[in-house]
């Protein structure tokens, strides 16, 4: 239990730092918060009224406490470009983004894990060198540039996949119950919509995953390479276990833990990187919402996205760490 309590305490501390950062963004750096919240065309009287309403005539620490209270109760204020509560906007925009990140993460895992394992097994070989170069190249690709090129070539010139949006025109009236179209359509057995939603996800998810795959291969390789030198691998070889069994049953299950922690962190990083991808593919989502909010100088909506992405990041890390702790067999033996 000690570990769980420590891990929870770290998450709460992180949440406080996140709140501090978003408070600084919206209340200190963006200029007069009352003027910001009132909108670009508000008069002095309205600004003064808001200043009192928002408690901005009080000391900074009290302001921070009020701010924390608002945010933690899900109140981010109103967005003036959608003219709706920001919290409602986010509830609508979050499912499509999470769906995109889930698919991108699946692509990432499907490439990183096997490549990382194989390059660790054949470290120093020609194959390892080529993959290393590809990984270095991948880490230098501008996400938004590769997204535009893929969209233009694969969707625009070859007509293999749709250019923009979440669904085709024929399915424009589809509304799932959760907002996760892949899940909704599968649960209701609507395979036409499922295929359509998937086709719309391929290019954005692939562009989003590239940068993370480059890091993922490297992390998996580093995590696995030490395992191959351990005594139990020598023993497994000596007793005649097949190379495939050694890689999957022994090395992979032992070396996966540190790699999985990083993949847990990548989940939140990916959600933050949707700002570069969603706008290009005309997909609704928190990234596109944030970019639109910037162009309308709606700073509170931007900061709300920063907070929600940070929160998802903290939760994803916590879940992964606790899961890894629960399935760790060493825990069962007492220490």
């Amino acid at each position: 239990m000690n570990y769980v309590a420590q891990r929870m305490a770290f998450s709460i501390l992180s949440l406080l730092v996140l709140l501090f950062i978003t408070f600084m963004l919206s209340h200190v750096m963006a200029g007069d918060p009352a003027a910001v919240a009132a909108g670009p065309s508000a008069g002095m009287a309205k600004i003064e009224l808001l200043r009192r309403e928002m408690g901005l005539d009080k000391p900074v620490l009290i302001q921070f406490a009020i701010y924390c209270g608002h945010v933690l109760s899900g109140d981010f204020g109103m967005s003036w470009f959608t003219r709706q509560p920001i919290a409602e906007d986010l509830m609508r925009e979050l499912p499509p983004s999470l769906e995109l990140v889930f698919v991108a993460m699946l692509i990432n895992l499907a490439i990183s894990m096997p490549l990382g394992l194989l390059t660790a097994r054949y470290a120093g070989s020609r194959f390892d060198d080529i993959v290393r170069l590809l990984v270095i190249a991948g880490a230098g690709l501008p996400v938004f540039w590769i997204a535009i090129l893929l969209q233009q070539i694969v969707a625009g010139d070859w007509h293999l996949l749709p250019m923009t949006g979440r669904l085709s025109f024929a399915n424009r009236d589809y509304a799932g119950s959760t907002g996760f179209y892949l899940f909704d359509s599968l649960a209701s057995g609507n395979f036409a919509v499922f295929g359509d939603a998937l086709a719309h996800l391929v290019l954005p998810a692939f562009s989003l995953s590239l940068l993370f795959t480059a890091v993922g291969v490297r992390i998996t390789r580093t995590a696995m390479i030490g395992e191959f030198r351990k005594d139990y691998v020598v023993l497994a070889r000596a007793k005649g276990a097949s190379e495939g069994r050694i890689m999957l049953r022994h090395v992979f299950s032992n070396g996966a833990t540190p790699a999985l922690t990083v993949f847990g962190m990548q989940f939140g990083w990916m959600l933050g990187t949707t700002v570069l991808v969603e706008e290009i593919f005309g997909r609704p989502g928190v990234g596109r919402y944030a970019v639109k909010a910037v162009s309308q100088s709606d700073i509170h909506a931007v900061v709300a996205v920063v907070f929600v992405v940070g929160l998802v990041f903290l939760l994803a890390n916590l879940v992964v760490d606790l899961l890894l702790y629960l399935i760790n067999p060493r825990r069962r033996t007492g220490n």
Binding site: P142, I146, V294, V302, G310
Partner: protein, 285 residues
């Protein structure tokens, strides 16, 4: 210090192991030269609009064609090299300096302050870097300066953490105990022992971060919180060319390739430096 400075040209000659690494060094030097001299080499004014000559494909007058407003893409690329690389190196110089200062301070002072600072750095470092910088840049008012400040704010913990680690390591060495006994003052400890020892680790990390910082700056410009169109910053150029990609592919291709080549060259060099300088590297034979 002198040794550390001399190490750079020596490294350029003796470190590369294969053609890829040699090519990366040549490309990196060329790109830096172009960034310095590009302003004089550019054949046209990068901001001069000419609607009669818009969307011209690459030709002998316009080697990389013209963009949607008839501006010469090559000239924009050359001016952009200076803007993009200067911003990148400015960000790196500041975060290395500030990060080092915080890291060394933290290690020397120790105790609760050290603990708090490093916890803060840990947490800060974890948050999705792009969205954090995005928030800072948006709050500061969407300009290239805002993007640069945003990267200062979101990147300092990497170097604070790294320098603190190296410094704590050095402070625990025996020769530091004798330095203590001799009464060596703190500033000389830092200048003579800490910085020379931290140099290798920092240079590796900074080289690898060139591409990350550059991708962040151009990414922020692309989504509108960095350099604004029509500034010839590479990311802003891609944003500007996006709407013409179907009938003017060169407008988007050129700046993207420039970012990619620069990032690739510095990543290969960083990878090579890590192999040669990092004593824990597994590939150093």
């Amino acid at each position: 210090m002198l040794q550390a400075v001399l190490a750079v040209p020596r490294a350029a000659l003796s470190f590369p192991r294969n053609g890829v690494e040699k090519a990366a060094i040549v490309i990196a030097i060329l790109i830096v030269l172009l960034a310095v001299l590009g302003v004089w080499l550019a054949p046209f004014d990068p901001l001069k609009i000419n609607f009669r000559g818009k969307l011209e494909p690459p030709s002998f007058t316009h080697l990389l064609g013209t963009d949607g407003s008839g501006r010469d893409v090559l000239s924009r690329l050359l001016y952009g090299a200076q803007l993009t690389l200067a911003s990148t190196f400015l960000v790196l110089a500041v975060i290395v300096a500030v990060g080092c200062a915080i890291g060394i301070f933290s290690a020397f002072i120790g105790g609760v302050v050290d603990n708090l600072l490093m916890r803060l750095a840990d947490i800060w470092l974890g948050f999705p870097p792009l969205i954090l910088a995005f928030g800072f840049a948006a709050a500061l008012g969407a300009s290239l300066q805002a993007a640069i400040w945003a990267l200062f704010f979101s990147w300092w913990p990497t170097y604070a953490r790294l320098t603190r680690m190296v410094t704590v390591d050095i402070l625990s060495q025996k020769f530091m105990a004798s330095a203590d006994a001799l009464g060596v003052p703190v500033h000389r400890k830092i200048l003579n022992y800490v910085i020379p020892n931290a140099f290798d680790v920092l240079i590796v990390q900074a080289t690898l971060d060139v591409s990350a910082v550059m991708l962040a700056i151009s990414g922020l410009s692309f989504i509108g919180v960095g350099a604004q169109i029509p500034t010839p910053e590479w990311g802003a150029m891609i944003a500007d060319g996006r709407s013409y990609v179907a009938n003017g592919w060169w407008i988007v291709l050129a700046p993207g390739l420039a970012i990619f080549l620069t990032a690739l060259a510095f990543n290969v060099i960083g990878d090579m430096l890590r192999r040669e300088l990092d004593p824990t590297s597994s590939r150093r034979q």
